[in-house]
């Protein structure tokens, strides 16, 4: 199947990478098995359809309300956090965000960073940025630790190493850490833990993400299941949290439903093992906690999505990953095929705002618009509708204003002309009937090779008489027999 794709495209495009992923039987099995189990977990966590739908509606409204007041909430968050003793930094680009983090580490003469799981730090490629400046940045989430050890990127936003099974992890640990191979998952986790424990104590700075930033109280809420988030944010003397500006919500009351939606949609959990609520550095009379807490608020294209009423809905996302778990495309090609930080349906609608649509021109097309993602999204992002919108932005001609950065890169006058012809055919009944006449008469001449279609199918042969033709004959006959009786 792959011979039609030039070698360069094999690594440079979604389609090319998909060919490689589809041929990898182990990868296919790993994803299918994992996604099936995640879908079941979510379904089991929402046994009552009415409750689930009501909660999704509430989640959607809470996020919409927060977004409608985004500038105010961000300012309130900054004021409250500052009052609590947290340093707040603003970054428009990932480069700026990295510089801020680096400056903080440098001011402490730090050389070791331990990191809780954070997709925004992936967006920033923080590990690489810091490594180039001789700062070691170690991932402490087990999945992130595994992919870091293997020099990979996460393939799922919640379960970064979901593309590997236990045997592959065992082999990796054996090769990289020199430990014996084992099939026992618990033993594998213990191996990782022993390495990480030491690092928590040695680290100069702990970095984490944020699930919800609460404006009213100036609280950073972080959920996790491994305890590594709590360790990263409390053991090192400095804690730096990085997050996107869309994570702000008005108050604690708003968090309860969102949290319930997040954990149930992601892993089918009623609640995560750890829920961290960080409201400032260690106070004078407290025994533990970091001496300094920083928050870096990153834009990285989010304000571009915010500026358009339809695309703004992208920012509802609470990063649960349910859309990828339910996506028939993601299930078959895995996260790395997307070639970007955020894979799956959410990746397809959020990435264009970050890197430009021209960098991911195939993403909007890599969907059958089946709607499974929109159906499960806990905050009701109309993902298929937004994909359709991005396809629209993709094919805009150069003289139409680009709304999304990098829009119009798939514009082709040839394709536009084809659709114009299609339009003429379908708006002019005489022309359409001529087409039907020709297609039904010449059906036998349908070529055996119809490009991509005939890679998977035989060529479809038009019927010898169209429905227009059959219906006319049938209804006329009815009429005649009706007149006679």
């Amino acid at each position: 199947m792959s011979q039609r794709i030039p070698v360069k495209e094999l690594t440079d495009s979604f389609r090319g990478r998909a060919v490689g992923a589809l041929a990898d039987a182990q990868l296919r099995t790993n994803f299918r098995v994992a996604m099936d189990s995640l879908m079941k977990k979510r379904a089991d966590a929402f046994p009552d359809e009415e409750e689930r739908e009501g909660l999704r509606e509430l989640g959607n409204h809470i996020k919409a309300r927060a977004l409608s007041r985004l500038p105010d909430l961000l300012e309130q968050l900054e004021a409250k956090l500052t009052e609590n003793g947290v340093h707040v930094h603003w970054a428009e680009t990932t480069e700026e965000a990295n510089r801020i983090v680096h400056t903080i580490i440098e001011s402490k003469q730090g050389s070791q960073v331990v990191k809780g799981k954070s997709m925004v730090s992936e967006e920033m490629e923080m590990n690489d940025y810091l490594a180039e400046r001789d700062i070691e940045c170690l991932e402490s989430d087990m999945g992130e630790y595994i992919v870091q050890l293997d020099g990979e990127k996460p393939s799922h936003i919640i379960m970064p190493a979901i593309h590997k099974n236990r045997r592959q992890v065992s082999k990796l640990f054996h090769n990289k850490l020199g430990v014996d191979e084992t099939d026992d998952v618990n033993e594998l986790i213990q191996i990782g833990r022993r390495t990480l424990r030491k690092k928590f104590l040695e680290a100069d700075v702990g970095v984490s993400g944020v699930n919800f930033a609460i404006a009213e109280t100036g609280t950073l809420l972080l959920v996790e299941n491994e305890g590594n988030g709590r360790m990263s944010t409390t053991v090192p003397p400095v804690h730096v949290a990085v997050t996107g500006i869309e994570k702000v919500v008005a108050n604690l009351r708003d968090v309860a439903p969102l949290l319930s939606l997040l954990t149930r949609s992601a892993l089918g959990q009623p609640i995560t093992t750890y829920v961290n609520m960080i409201s400032g550095p260690r106070k004078a009379d407290e025994l533990d906690g970091p001496e300094e807490v920083h928050l870096v608020l990153l834009d990285n294209g989010r304000s571009g999505a915010f500026a358009d009423a339809q695309l703004r809905q992208t920012l509802n996302c609470i990063r649960c990953g349910a859309c990828m778990n339910h996506c028939p495309v993601y299930t078959r090609v895995g996260g790395h095929t997307y070639g970007e930080v955020y894979p799956g349906p959410i990746g397809k609608i959020v990435t264009p705002h970050m890197v430009g649509l021209d960098h991911v021109p195939d993403h909007p097309s890599a969907s059958s618009l089946c709607g499974a993602c929109g159906e499960v999204c806990p905050v009701k992002i109309p993902i298929p509708e937004l994909l359709q919108r991005l396809r629209q932005e993709n094919v805009k001609s150069p003289d139409e204003p680009a709304v999304v950065q990098g829009g119009g890169s798939k514009y082709s006058w040839k394709e536009r002309a084809l659709w114009r012809m299609w339009m003429a055919l379908n708006t002019r009944p005489t022309l359409y009937k001529c087409f039907l006449w020709a297609a039904t008469r010449l059906g036998k001449l349908t070529p055996k090779n119809l490009g991509p279609w005939t890679e998977n199918h035989t060529a479809p042969v038009p019927a010898r008489r169209s429905l227009h033709d059959l219906a006319k004959a049938h209804l006329n006959a009815e009429k005649t027999s009706g007149d006679r009786s």
């Binding site: 998909a18 589809l22 358009d308 890599a366 059958s368 659709w419 039904t440 998977n456 019927a463």
Partner: protein, 275 residues
Amino acid sequence: MTELFYDAAPNATRVAPERPGPRTYPAKPPEVTLFGTCVVDLFFPEAGLDAIRLLEREGIRVHFPQEQSCCGQPAWTSGYVNEAREVARAQLNLLDNGLPVVVPSGSCAGMFRQHYREVFAEEPDTLKRVDDLAERTFELTEFLLHVCKVDWQDLGQPTQIALHTSCSARREMNTHLHARELLGKLANVERLDHDHESECCGFGGTFSVRMPEVSGAMVLDKTRSLRESGAVEMVTADGGCLLNINGSLEKQKQTFRGRHLASFLWARVSGEVKS
């Protein structure tokens, strides 16, 4: 930083549309329009004719306007909005006579009922007519079940079938529920479940040619689970899926096939056995 936002579309935040309540159905009308759809027109015309026969059997006079073509979905999902809108307008004008519109395809019915609102979002005057059309549009199985309230005698031999429902039919029109209930009325038909039944068959219109490898993997899985269900054939209310699934089965040199639900239903209730 925050000054970035003050210029951006004020009060432009969208809230998800309210969940529709269960649809209320009108009494059986004396006349309807059949919108055949372009795929049925060219590739499965017999299914369209069988839909007409099923409706006539219920004492309904069926109109088939010869000026109809396509609902506009292919251009719409490909991002060619202007082209889609003009094709949609042609159908909207054609169907603007107040008669119920019956469609033997869930995704085209979904286009009328859900997406024309997006297609004509910037034309408030047209939207009134769009809403009117949406109100009058029924997918075939939905119409037979809830409007005609059919009561059938199954004249066919005992058989086992699998039902495939297109994604848009399922998610926009609840066709899987309607079709299941309708098939349940046939005494000699047993519907067998298949693995990952609600998963997409990989068609997705232009997706099947833009991403042939991914689409091909999806249809391979779908045809496998259909064959392994133990059913002797597959039925579906969607021409697009049927084109995809049967084309793939033929390419694989399998003997298992799918057919349009309208043809299957007509064969059962009329006793006519077609090759």
